[in-house]
Symmetry: C2
Subunit: 254 residues, 2 copies
Amino acid sequence: MENASVIDCLLKHKSIRKYTADPVPESVLHQVLEAGTRAATTGNMQLYSVIVTKDPARKKALAPLHFNQPMITEAPVVLTFTADVNRFQQWCEQREAGRAYDNLLWYVCATLDCMLMAQNTVVAAEALGLGTCFLGTTLYTAKEQCAFFELPAGVMPLTTLTLGYPAEQPEATDRLPLEGIVHSERYTPYTPQAIDRLFGPKESSELTRRLLEENGLPNLAQIFTLRRYPLADNLTFSQHYLELLKTQGFLDKK
Amino acid sequence: MENASVIDCLLKHKSIRKYTADPVPESVLHQVLEAGTRAATTGNMQLYSVIVTKDPARKKALAPLHFNQPMITEAPVVLTFTADVNRFQQWCEQREAGRAYDNLLWYVCATLDCMLMAQNTVVAAEALGLGTCFLGTTLYTAKEQCAFFELPAGVMPLTTLTLGYPAEQPEATDRLPLEGIVHSERYTPYTPQAIDRLFGPKESSELTRRLLEENGLPNLAQIFTLRRYPLADNLTFSQHYLELLKTQGFLDKK
């Protein structure tokens, strides 16, 4: 049954952070990225680019931009996904059609398309026995990523995916119950009781118990706001990202 | 072979704009969205919500917000995908952990996560015999979408997916050659010759020939910049979207 195996592949997803030393054959990487590009794209404009990092010296240099998470140097392949209106606009200018896409709307369009492509890449990779992990650090160091990859105006780094053959088999992580994220016809405000019910299982898990003990904090929400993703960092990174949107040409015009 | 069928499912993707009258069973919709939520998500925070529109009266009222594209009223199910930090922040506040995610960084994080989930939803839907079509109009009328779906602060509309059983079998659309979107180690600037080579097949296609004739324009690039997505509209929609990011609380803080 085709249906069953595709759904099964999606349901089995786990982020893989440890990889074997086996390289990813070029033909496999090609197949994975090809499947990626079959995702829907606004006006079939394909406003994205992917940068492949395989060179060990480059991975070593890239690692600090991902706060030295070991996956960057240990995974055989690192993919950096970017929203890219540069290529399309260059084509338009070459055809005397003018520039129309270096603005916020098209940063968002390009971002949406890029992420559809990124997820297809993940699904294809997992179907071929590879493991993957997204790194959110790309957004925190977006300016440095631009310099590292020599991204021209019109291109914004979005996310990074490490890719390799799994050397671990972690448990699947929990998810909120589906009714917690799906709304019927209108957005239903969350009552305090609904919030307690939705987050309760996560809060009472063994993983949470260990995290609270390690961090000396009274609840899981504070692990997020005080340790993992604190406000001061978020505001700094937001300011940097806004400035980069200007530098890369997406907020120039009024 | 599981591998082959998953890759095959991804490669076969086509946007479906015509649907049969068959409803989508609730159990199928549940399975599709459940598979959606298995996509990776930053810190397992699931910063997204999906709004299901099935009520014919609501679909009729929603259609103008999508410039009356017929898929909205004809598809049995319309899914509106939103970036949502509201639910998570409400939880944090209820646990006396403060607010940390109503800023630009987390609008982007939530957007990335939402789109990974959206693409998993598409793959699952297609595996179960459904057809889908993304509508970019959600961004153009984002403010009106907020009012229509009663989205609170912390929630931004991103994209819309129509869902139903296919009543057409369109040809797969073309894509740029893979080397046109993949870069090795560094972003390689596109030479004018590279642009000509990459876009050449698209420009000389039968579809393009028909488009140029219908529009009375000399080349495909001008179809994009003068007809489909012209600069003046892009700047207007960009301005509206920026204002909405403020209204919804993502650009408040300095």
